[in-house]
């Protein structure tokens, strides 16, 4: 379930005016920005941008980019974009890093629905004049590349049907590949990148039933093996995305210093989806509320925005 609290009746014009006022003149009223944008869903945010453009002949996003800075600016920028456009930006940022953040590519391609992933691909083309797969291919190589390109180009069947016989045989194929450390990459890639999510979950369940341990456990290993890491991330995202996101949050806060990129990414991309469930999972596993952990580790306007997106009342 979503965490953000957006009223159903909203005046986009009024919102645009408030935001204008917040940005005009000396300094910026960040609290006003948070109190408006932090309580608007994607459809509403889009309307606000349109209203702002109409009223002031200016792109609200560009205005905010110039007014704000640091982690707060990055968070606001990601939050205000359309979900598909946002994912396209996240993907591009991840790919273009000196050492690409491959797990972000895996995350986007494996946790979004098939239709959402298509929308991301369209948005990516519109923004960057290349297909997502082209850019992924250009910045990766070997089996890792094959896996990633297949993940981003997948258009999985979205139905609930499960073929038990297939789940059995493919669980066996996966197990043989995992055991045999000398991975038959092709079959593993085929199964993980073409089967529907329901089918995959049935396969993973069958795997654990047959072998007493989850496939993710068996995929732990040499952290120098890039392919293995990417593969493991894909399986984790496909098998239980909430658990995956909880872990990302846990890791982003736990370290010396905070991984703001990861923290922002998860909160912003899940706030309108299943952040509530992820929060509950976090609480269960860490004996402390996510809001508390975030409050302790962040500060200022950045903190205020994150807490608002987490559902904290003003």
């Amino acid at each position: 379930m979503a965490t953000i609290d957006a009223p159903s009746q909203v005046s986009f014009q009024q919102d645009a005016e408030i935001l204008r006022k917040a940005c005009k003149g000396w300094g910026t009223d960040e609290k006003a920005i948070i109190s408006v944008l932090g309580h608007r869903n994607a459809a509403q945010r889009k309307q606000i941008r349109l209203a702002y453009e109409e009223l002031y002949q200016e792109d609200l996003v560009k205005r905010l980019e110039s007014e704000l800075s640091g982690d707060f600016e990055r968070a606001v920028y990601r939050w205000i974009l359309d979900p598909a456009d946002r994912d396209a930006v996240l993907a591009n940022v991840a790919i273009k890093k000196l050492s690409p953040d491959l797990h972000v590519i895996v995350e986007i391609s494996c946790t979004r629905s098939p239709e959402e992933l298509l929308a991301v691909r369209r948005a990516y083309q519109a923004r960057y004049k290349h297909s997502l797969e082209e850019d992924v291919a250009a910045h990766t190589k070997g089996d890792t590349r094959t896996l990633l390109v297949a993940l981003v180009t997948a258009f999985r069947y979205d139905g609930e049907e499960i073929n038990t016989r297939l789940a059995n045989s493919e669980a066996k194929i996966l197990h043989d590949a995992v055991e045999d450390k000398k991975f038959n990459h092709e079959e593993v890639i085929r199964i993980l990148t073409t089967r529907s999510k329901m089918q995959l979950m049935a396969t993973f369940n069958r795997y654990s039933d047959d072998h007493g341990a989850s496939i993710t456990k068996h995929l732990q290993g040499d952290s120098g093996d890039e392919f293995l890491l990417v593969l493991r991330t894909a399986v984790r995202c496909l098998n239980d995305s909430k658990k995956y996101f909880e872990k990302v949050l846990h890791n982003s806060i736990r370290r010396m210093g905070t991984d703001e990129d990861a923290l922002t990414r998860v909160i912003v991309t899940r706030a309108e989806k299943d952040l509530k469930d992820i929060k509950e999972l976090y609480h269960k596993r860490n004996s402390v509320a996510l809001e508390q952990a975030v409050a302790k580790d962040t500060s200022g306007d950045y903190k205020a925005l994150l807490l608002t997106l987490l559902g904290k009342e003003d």
Binding site: L118, Q125, R190, T194
Partner: protein
Amino acid sequence: MHPWERDARFLKKALKKGPPQYNVIVEIACTRSSDQLLGARKAYHSLFNRSIEEDLAFHIKGSERKLLVALVSAYRYEGSKVKEDTARSEAKALLNAINNGDKRKIVEDDEVVTILTARSKPHLKEVYEQYKKLSNKTITEDLEVELLLKEMMECLCTPQTYFTKIFDAALRDNANEGAKKALTRLVATQKGGEIKEVATKFEEQIEERVKGAYKDVLVGVLAKEG
């Protein structure tokens, strides 16, 4: 029947018939626009409760699997923007793969498959041109041994050549059912200018050799607005 549904059914049938029909998969994946191909994939979901890539990957065991799965999964950028130096270096990479690798395994070469299935059509046309400068032959000539790859390059870069071959094979004296079916499929699914241009070259043969309803269809293509 909606074009997407028709394409989905063509793909299913081609997969069922096996290797001799894989060129149909190549034809559809390469001659449709990005959105048309996407539409065919959606239609496939609705009709068969599976994704096309699932079925292809599962049923094709041979060396063409990688290529065909990647081809149907493509959502190529459709803008005209092309980077000449990237095209040149990719032409070089392709030339290397063709010259140095085992010619029969080219269809499995990761670099080759990635370039040919991810890049936009305008970009590949540029790669085609750059390749000509580097080698004495065109890339389609050099790919003689690998028919599927050759047809793929034709469909992507010089579709006229591909269409001409189909017309020619179907309008010959000893044309078999398969050749005629291929032409029927082409005429039913390709629109406008490109196919009309090719059909015009065969006007005489259509007059002489074709009869009845089939002729009407072909004449109709000739008469169509481009």
